[in-house]
């Protein structure tokens, strides 16, 4: 159990072609769109000017986009790059890309796909974009386990290894996907709630429309 307090100072949830930031629906697209089309439109809407995005696999695109949306409104520059940690999780690891890569092996293996055949590459893409150099971890689990993710992130914050932690869930398999990112900081900011598994679950559930 943590002895110190941290706060959720921002969140971004992307599912069913809807993008939420801090609980508010920012943007949505027709559910009939293919995932890659949705990702391209989301990139045009929220970013642009980052051509490497188009080379990423869907898992990295999803995590990268959610981080882009979340961190746009977050004062992340208050933290040293070495003290921003990332703790992510999902169900399918990099299987979505592994299968695509496996299909190329029959002909000529694709180097561009091979480099995405690990789930933690999404963390690297976020770090490259924002210059983060802190601790990171990627867990694979059956479903989003707020207790585990919060407990690991809290450990990093409590031990002083990190002053901010981007954590959550980035899942994709074929057309099915879901991203829920939370920014946890030591410092309390306006509208922030306590960084607990219960609050994370509440935010995760609220934005699922359930």
């Amino acid at each position: 159990m943590s002895k110190q307090t941290a706060y959720i100072t921002g969140s971004c949830v992307v599912r069913k072609h809807q993008v939420y930031r801090n609980g508010a629906l920012l943007w949505q697209e027709a559910p009939s769109l293919e995932l890659q089309e949705f990702l391209r439109k989301a990139y045009d809407r929220f970013s642009g000017q980052y051509p490497k995005f188009h080379k990423m696999d869907p898992l990295s695109k999803l995590g990268w986009l959610a981080a882009e949306v979340l961190l746009r409104e977050a004062p992340i520059e208050d933290h040293l790059p070495e003290q921003v940690a990332i703790v992510l999780s999902n169900r399918s690891a990099s299987l979505d890309t592994d299968l695509r890569y496996y299909n190329t092996v029959k002909d000529i293996p694709s180097p561009a796909l091979f480099v995405y055949t690990l789930p933690n590459i999404v963390i690297g893409e976020i770090c490259i974009r924002h210059g983060f150099k802190g601790e990171h971890a990627f867990f694979t689990m059956d479903s989003f386990d707020a207790e585990q993710v919060v407990s690991y992130a809290q450990l990093l914050l409590d031990s002083g290894v990190a002053t901010a932690c981007l954590c959550g869930w980035v899942e994709v398999m074929d057309q099915q996907y879901e991203v829920a990112l939370f920014l946890a900081e030591r410092q309390q900011r306006e509208g922030a709630v306590a960084f607990t598994a219960a609050e994370v679950k509440k935010l995760y559930a609220q934005q699922s429309g359930s």
Binding site: P51, H54, K55, D107, I108, S110, P111, A112, V115
Partner: protein
């Protein structure tokens, strides 16, 4: 060379680049088009897939892949070689 530029764009997923944006003599790496080491491997795959050319000596890579023109020259030379 226009075809080769289109193939490069497709192979490397350069979705924000048009063929006419790539100069014939523009360096493909570093300050030019800004390609990286994975792109270099994809260019080797491109030669194999589209032109059935296997790069025999990887040390030649920087010379062959310097620009679209050097790539085109290399492809043409390889295609002229008998059998």
């Amino acid at each position: 060379m226009a075809d080769l530029k289109s193939q490069i764009i497709e192979q490397l997923n350069l979705q924000e680049v048009k063929p006419e944006d790539i100069g014939d003599d523009q360096p493909l790496f570093k300050d030019g088009l800004g390609l990286d080491s994975i792109d270099a491997l994809e260019l080797i795959v491109l030669l194999q897939q589209h032109y059935s050319i296997r790069l025999a000596n990887p040390d030649q890579g920087p010379e062959i892949f310097y620009s679209v023109r050097t790539m085109a020259t290399y492809i043409t030379a390889q295609q002229k070689q008998p059998g």
